[in-house]
């Protein structure tokens, strides 16, 4: 069965998010003074073949550990959906 997975990768709360900081500063400069915080992360979309949603998630988790995520500086969430095709 084909599953769609989205990996949401964000900088760890405890490390400096340099991109978020740059976005935050620039938006404030543009006049968005109500802004409190901005963080910048990334989304990786994957389609994969798996027997179940659970095994799809496990497989994507392993991809995160091996390549997609640097766990020293980033955290991630995985969202799995069954694909129609």
């Amino acid at each position: 069965m084909i599953f769609k997975a989205e990996v949401h990768i964000m900088p760890r709360k405890t490390v400096l998010d340099t991109q978020g900081k740059a976005v935050e500063k620039t938006l404030i400069h543009l006049g968005y003074t109500s802004l409190k915080e901005a963080n910048v992360g990334k989304i990786v979309k994957i389609r994969l073949d798996a027997e179940s949603a659970d095994s799809a998630k496990k497989s994507v988790e392993s991809m995160c550990q091996d390549l997609l995520v640097n766990e020293l500086t980033e955290t991630f969430d995985i969202i799995i959906e069954a694909s129609c095709k």
């Binding site: 760890r12 709360k13 405890t14 490390v15 400096l16 340099t18 900081k21 740059a22 500063k25 766990e71 020293l72 500086t73 955290t75």
Partner: protein
């Protein structure tokens, strides 16, 4: 709270109780624990470092400041220092190396100097392992990322591969900057009543939960075994450079200190203690990046790109205006007092109250020293195993090996020309940079000889130091001073402490005998993994001066028709050389004994040769000995050589021995007489002529320089 958790021993805790006359509260214990750690207090090495010669006619600022300063003349000084970032780079190679650059740049700013040069000493594991390449790639990327963005050129460095650094790489970052001598900043000139101002990034949880905090629970879903690594922001650092120099230039600050290890705690306590003051700090005033930070986290945080300035009340408004212009956070966080106490307030509540000296005047630790049981084994060398059957093949192997080949794949990633003052950059044995607004040049050499230090820490360190000086002298420079990074294993093991002690002695004796004071430095201990300690690795960077930059003698400038001279003895030692290591698979045998009188004779003549321009090119003998020096000179000049010299002992020793004051020169025919007059009183010999497109040696070998070039550029 258990004092062991903050790294204090039973006896240290007893001393603390005696000083305080009471038990410290939890926050106080954290503060003392960190300031008494090896990392902050240098407790194992302070008595040894005192043996360094510290005074010299060029020294403006010696050890004890953020960086040393030497006099370059015409009102200019050079602030310089080398610092390790070994452990952070082992955990997170990219960010560790990047923040290493950031840290050394701030040390230079803290002296009031504009950062102008950086160099890197990199020691990686086995060059045959993929893991080594992955790590090295990340470290180099990190250095380039930060250094290129912050606009400080990388002028060279030292890269060394050995399985001894598997799992424990070394990243030593060197920084230097130019400062007007009447504008030098200090961390010892704060006065009671003045304000402590924090400029730069907000304080987050960076660097907290490192080794000694691994047992703490962290919020969020952070993996508690991972320290919160520091992430650098070079663009913020660039603003910090300009902002601090601007404030200094307008005479709006009285003292300055960068924030490195133990962040706010160490910077504020050091500035107060060294200035003979106390300080009150208001923790609620410190701008925070993370929510819910505890006071101990705030004080120990190693968030990057922050500086502590001491400002008089009447200048505060102007300082705030300038920091606003640079878009930097700025907050008054404390007041200097005359009571010599370190007090922390949370609103009205006094949450820590310590005598300032307990944080700055930390106890020293004496460890037992014992000659390593295997030292005689390390020093035993069987010359019969070192026979060469094909000198040509061996030369090519020595040129192509990981420690001999071109490092262009590394330094091409660095900007070496930014600021437009580079005279000699990466790839040259000596780095050189213009002194602003003058005809002068500042020259720098970085050296480390881990194999030689492993087989004999004293002799190895001495040879390392002498080698760095010879490079300067040969280029025509007078040595002004040196900075050193001492990378060693655990001092708690008596054999390792012996290596540390002997290495320092070797450096100290050589610096004293050859008139090169030590102005700054850094010590990094506990460099070992479960399997083995690293080699004893003292790294030195020596600064020199040439009054007229047109008189620099460079390498790689040999012209066809030049006579090739060898100055110095034909033989050094084969012990712990690149050749010996290649033949035996591990370093064995001692390097040469120091001969200071001979070094001084060399110094005088080498400097004269450069200034009188009696040679077109010159190169000191280093790794790979005479054969590799000639081969490197041939490929960098693009001209072959016919060499004719008979061995006094063995062919191997003539070709490949290392150590001692020795160099090759290329002398044009119309300067031969002058050159020989200069070297009168020192051993020298005309050994050949530059010609053709091969390196030929009597009937020993002929190697096309295209083959040498290929080996050098492509490696093994």
């Amino acid at each position: 709270m258990d004092f062991h958790k903050v790294g204090l021993s039973d006896s240290e805790y007893k001393t603390i109780l005696e000083i305080l006359g009471r038990e410290p509260n939890a926050l106080e214990l954290e503060l003392i624990g960190v300031m008494w750690s090896e990392h902050c207090s240098y407790k194992s090495t302070r008595p040894l470092l005192k043996t360094y010669p510290q005074k010299g006619k060029h020294v403006v600022q010696g050890q004890g400041e953020n960086a040393g300063v030497v006099d370059l003349g015409e009102g200019w000084g050079l602030a310089f220092k080398v610092e390790s970032h070994n452990h952070p780079s082992a955990i997170a190679p990219f960010h560790g190396a990047a923040t290493g650059i950031g840290g050394i740049v701030r040390d230079i700013i803290a002296m009031g100097a504009r950062p102008a040069v950086s160099m890197d000493g990199l020691f990686f594991g086995d060059s045959n392992l993929q893991k080594t390449h992955t790590l090295a790639k990340e470290v180099v990327k990190g250095i380039g990322f930060y250094g290129n963005a912050v606009g400080v050129p990388v002028l060279g460095g030292k890269t060394f591969y050995s399985p001894a650094y598997n799992g424990n790489p070394l990243v030593n970052a060197f920084g230097a900057g130019f400062v007007r001598l009447n504008k030098i900043a200090s961390s010892q000139t704060a006065k009671p009543g003045e304000f402590a101002v924090l400029v730069g990034s907000k304080t987050g949880r960076d660097g907290i939960a490192g080794a000694s905090f691994a047992s703490r629970e962290l919020d969020e879903n952070d993996n508690a075994s991972n320290p919160n690594i520091q992430i650098g922001d070079p663009f913020e650092e660039k603003l910090l450079i300009e902002c601090c120099l601007d404030i200094l230039d307008k005479d709006l600050m009285t003292s300055m200190q960068d924030m490195g290890a133990a962040g706010i705690l160490s910077s504020s306590s050091e500035i107060a203690q060294k200035s003979g003051c106390g300080i009150d700090i208001q923790v609620l005033q410190i701008p925070l990046r993370d929510k819910g930070m505890e006071p101990w986290e705030i004080f120990l945080s190693e968030s990057q790109e922050r500086m502590l300035l001491i400002v008089k009340e009447e200048n505060l408004d102007d300082v705030f205006k300038i920091t606003k212009h640079y878009d930097l956070d700025c907050k008054t966080i404390g007041t200097l007092t005359d009571n010599r106490r370190y007090k922390v307030f949370k609103g009205d509540e006094l949450i820590a109250n310590l005598p300032i000296d307990i944080l700055g005047d930390t106890p020293v630790k004496f460890w037992p020293s014992e000659v390593p049981a295997d030292l005689s084994e390390r020093q035993a060398i069987d010359l019969s195993t070192l026979k060469t059957t094909s000198p040509a093949e061996d030369i090519l192997k020595l040129i192509a090996c990981a420690n001999g080949n071109s490092k262009h794949r590394i330094w091409e990633q660095y900007d070496s020309m930014v600021q437009l003052h580079t005279i000699m950059g990466p790839g040259s044995p000596v780095a050189a940079v213009e002194v602003p607004e003058t005809k002068r040049a500042c020259l720098l050499t970085m050296e480390a000889e881990p194999w030689k230090c492993f087989t004999d820490p004293y002799l190895g360190a001495s040879e390392t130091m002498a080698l760095s000086l010879r490079g300067l002298w040969l280029s025509g420079a007078d040595a002004l001073g040196m900075t050193n990074c001492l990378n060693f294993a655990s001092p708690e093991k008596s054999e390792r402490f012996y290596e540390l002690k002997e290495s320092i002695k070797g450096l100290a004796d050589t610096c004293r005998e050859l008139d090169c004071p030590v102005v700054s430095g850094n010590v990094s201990l506990y460099n070992e993994t479960v399997s083995a300690p690293i080699y004893p690795t003292p790294l030195v960077v020596t600064a020199g001066l040439i009054i007229n930059r047109d008189e620099i003698l460079k390498a790689g400038m040999t012209r066809s028709g030049d006579k090739i001279y060898l100055v110095g003895e034909n033989d050094g030692s084969l012990g712990a050389t690149r050749y010996q290591k290649m033949k035996n698979g591990k370093p064995l045998g001692k390097t040469v004994e120091p001969d200071y009188e001979n070094e001084k004779l060399f110094r005088e003549r080498a400097i004269k040769t450069a200034r009188e321009k009696t040679a077109n090119s010159g190169r000191v003998l280093a790794g790979g000995g005479l054969a590799v020096a000639l081969a490197n000179e041939a490929i960098s000049s693009g001209v072959g050589m016919n060499i004719s010299i008979k061995p006094q002992t063995t062919v191997e020793s003539l070709l490949f021995s290392e150590g001692g004051a020795r160099a090759i020169y290329s002398v044009p025919n119309n300067k031969i007489k002058e050159f020989e007059n200069t070297w009168n009183g020192f051993s020298f010999d005309c050994i050949g002529t530059a010609t053709g497109d091969s390196l030929s040696w009597d009937n020993l070998f002929t190697i096309p320089i295209s083959d040498i070039s290929k080996a050098f550029l492509e490696g093994e």
